[in-house]
Symmetry: C2
Amino acid sequence: MSQPYEAPLALLRWAIEQAASSTGLDESAPHAEALGDIADGVLAGAARLAREVLSPLNAVGDAEPAHLGAEGVHASPGFRGAYERFCADGWPAIAAPLEYGGQGLPLLLGAATTEMWGAANLSFAMCPESAVGAIEALSRHASPALRAQYLPSLVSGTRTASMCLTEPHAGSDLSTLRTLAEPDAEGWRLRGRKLYISWGDHDLTSDIVHLVLARTPNAPAGTRGISLFLVPKLLTRSGAAPERNDIRAVSLEHKMGIRASPTCAMVLGEAGGARGWLVGELHQGMHCMFSMMNHMRLGVGLHSTGLAERARQLAVGYAHERRQGRDRSGEQRPIIEHADVRRMLLGITTLTHAARTLAYTAAATLDMARDEVSERSASAARRAALLTPLVKAWCSDVAVEAASIAVQVHGGTGYIDDCEVSQIYRDARIGPIFEGTNYIQAQDLLQRKILRDEASELGALLGEIERAAAGLPPAAQRGGALREPLLRECAQLRACIRGLLVSGATDTELTGVIAYPLLQWLGVLAGGWQWALTARRAAQRTPGDRLAQALLGGADFYATHVLPRAAAHAASVAAGVLPEASALL
Amino acid sequence: MSQPYEAPLALLRWAIEQAASSTGLDESAPHAEALGDIADGVLAGAARLAREVLSPLNAVGDAEPAHLGAEGVHASPGFRGAYERFCADGWPAIAAPLEYGGQGLPLLLGAATTEMWGAANLSFAMCPESAVGAIEALSRHASPALRAQYLPSLVSGTRTASMCLTEPHAGSDLSTLRTLAEPDAEGWRLRGRKLYISWGDHDLTSDIVHLVLARTPNAPAGTRGISLFLVPKLLTRSGAAPERNDIRAVSLEHKMGIRASPTCAMVLGEAGGARGWLVGELHQGMHCMFSMMNHMRLGVGLHSTGLAERARQLAVGYAHERRQGRDRSGEQRPIIEHADVRRMLLGITTLTHAARTLAYTAAATLDMARDEVSERSASAARRAALLTPLVKAWCSDVAVEAASIAVQVHGGTGYIDDCEVSQIYRDARIGPIFEGTNYIQAQDLLQRKILRDEASELGALLGEIERAAAGLPPAAQRGGALREPLLRECAQLRACIRGLLVSGATDTELTGVIAYPLLQWLGVLAGGWQWALTARRAAQRTPGDRLAQALLGGADFYATHVLPRAAAHAASVAAGVLPEASALL
């Protein structure tokens, strides 16, 4: 059996400081204060809960998935107790607004805890993460009455939330969804079917807040006719006992991974209609849902970082223990002494650190964007919008790769169900799919975040990357290997985007085919940016600082083993539209 | 539910012809004859069995794995009947020697059937594949008496075989294995434990031939003291009923994939000793086992190609059916019309074709090596030795990647157990691990197949690749995109190897760290070679040949979307020894 997850506090702390410093959050009171001593207490507390409570349940949930009984969904053994502890310790509230009972701490600090939950037990982590997204959407868009009724309980954790978007015929493309919301004397009644609803039902809490996208009578076709409704599992009238609303889970998916997270098919309105309340304006459902979805996308990036970290530590732990091969004296030696094993471990480690620092940077940027007194708020919002799809897609791809390498380090052991790394490999594969496939992210990145403003925000980001590269030690020195290739790659990307803008990039065939390679290219580059920032910080530490010294080595490894992939992605982008080969498809 | 596996006969036929032509096998009677009309009948028959019998059992075996009862291992439902049909149709014998009842057909033809078995049902396919490897080892190394006793039944399929190498403390490094074989009046008695024995026990046949590596008393330490023994499950004395030998499966692994393939922990000698017969010379066990292992490695490459093909056809099928998004008239359109989906499908398709043609080329080269009257026999043997680790490792990596892309094409559906592509994703992950991890292959490639002959065989291979590139259409023409980059990559690899040879490459730290990136580099290049051969053949067909036209497009796609990875692998190799970063590990 593997050791429970142990949060890498020194690396988390490093990533928090790097993100706070590079975004300016460390100069923005009151956030700066929260990032000091409070942060240490928060991180230590989260690490303890992750290690002692969530991590030991991870394999349990995989072996005994949530199941559907007559009364609804039963979570995996131990999950209810873990959730009670999670709420009693105040974790749902950590970055929630003070006015609803939250602790109002920076999202950056919340990001580190989110990573830990994902690392320890992704299935579990998905449940409170939806609530955080719902808090975001409701506090922005819901009426005062709805906010007062639901936000305090979402913040305390006595209610959880689900996001009901997908329908059998409407996945990536929501324009065709059919769930209908009709007005009656008391408000709205909803009827329809929803698919792939994570934690759509469970017994961790008695009530659940469903945020449901639906179409209203005579609404415009497509996404412009969609509205957002709050549909609670329970209806409470003053003085009366709560009643079940007309929404229920009718089946659960049996999945390759995240098996303890109940993925529900939901039916609304079997008995006349589920009662719902409009959130935000009529027909503004997509806009309102995007608040939640953007948050969830950052969440996927953070959870994926956690999975990569967990894969890393399982592999590192195994490599220290497992003995194979001999040294010159004939002694068997731990496989970590084999160069190829260290190559694999450094691969996971440098990818994970890049994913983490990038995702934390997005969180810190969101903190800056929310700080309305800051002059940098608007530009931070633009930056956060640019980084969000990148974080979701690139970090989830990194987790898949890291998990695969970690399996390889384990050899045959990694293929056995008892070995947690085999679960991580299965769990990680959902990341590139849900909350908008990675191609959806790539399209968002290219169309809305790059082309729409004529790459002005991307240009600003590339400028920062170039400044970070220029701040590195000389190429010949330790930690300096990133300097030249990073500058070169930035120049190449600038040239490529310039070409796209000149051509107008109106050919959907072209933008469709280059979007994902372009995201991968920018992801590898952004990882290099974060490693450059890390190397610059590390170079300022004393030579006796072992972690800083090792991070300089990590930056050099990234430069020679990861960054060169950028050219391959660039070549795919440069190739443009696909050759005709339909007889092969 | 997905459609059963359908062998892509036109592409298989193409790969066979390409491999026969590029190796000269098409000019070598009697093989050439067998590759004509006989081949069509063989391929059609194998395709039928794969589609009608093996493929429908694939999901069954995943849901109801083999299990261990009091009497031994019970295969998954339906597997016994399928195996009987498999034998009745003569498939175990297809490429086996005529003298033991085999059909003596070219390995190249056997390769195509092996791919089909792997594609339809990998768990099943692993069982007869071990027998083919055992036939190879026994016919080369066993005594005439052992050959007479066991080979006809292995060829007919009434016995199967297992390969017993790994022990709890001896995985990749067999030098420390402890299973002991002691001589007594009647022969040898073996005692020990073996781990990860595929199809080590089952009820498809009554007897099983175990090929067991063991140490004899006073043998030299390390691998030079290891001998190979044949240990049957049943002992037959003339006139008496068969008795159980003292070897049995004591537990089965619960695995992420290939769940219908029983992975056994075996114990020998609980009741005094398992009776065994020496195969080959004493202390020559590793040498004898290598005959089997090399065969199994080609088998992994072929099975992996089959998995990639199955992933491809599931993804293509889904992409034609699933509708998302709209065209300009507002109609929902199948996702295959989305450029990004076609990009993903061409990625799987071009990788699969490269893997297939490369693996078939290795099989055809082995046919040439066996043809003792041919002058090219010795050089073919050297070429086959060079290609074997490459085929095992690169094709299995390709299968993992292809399966992952195929999951992504499916979106959420691909993550559900009901969807066969999720099984392919799990099944494929064993390929890089078993039969020698891909790093073991990389080490074999670099140390034994490249450095030992001072890259003379590699140089010959690169020369062939360069000739294939030079035979391509001009770069501006369809099918010509590979020409320049392939020539450039060959030159780069030549320069790199020259540098290694000059330096002596005696630093095990260096060779350890570059071996795997070097294998990846050569793999991508070899895939380009095969696509160049394909494009050359395709360019000679009439413009109305739709498959040939599409293959020209495939070659161009490979040039711009896959071959550019070579530079990233080259950069890892060029980086040499790892930076010190042990505080991160």
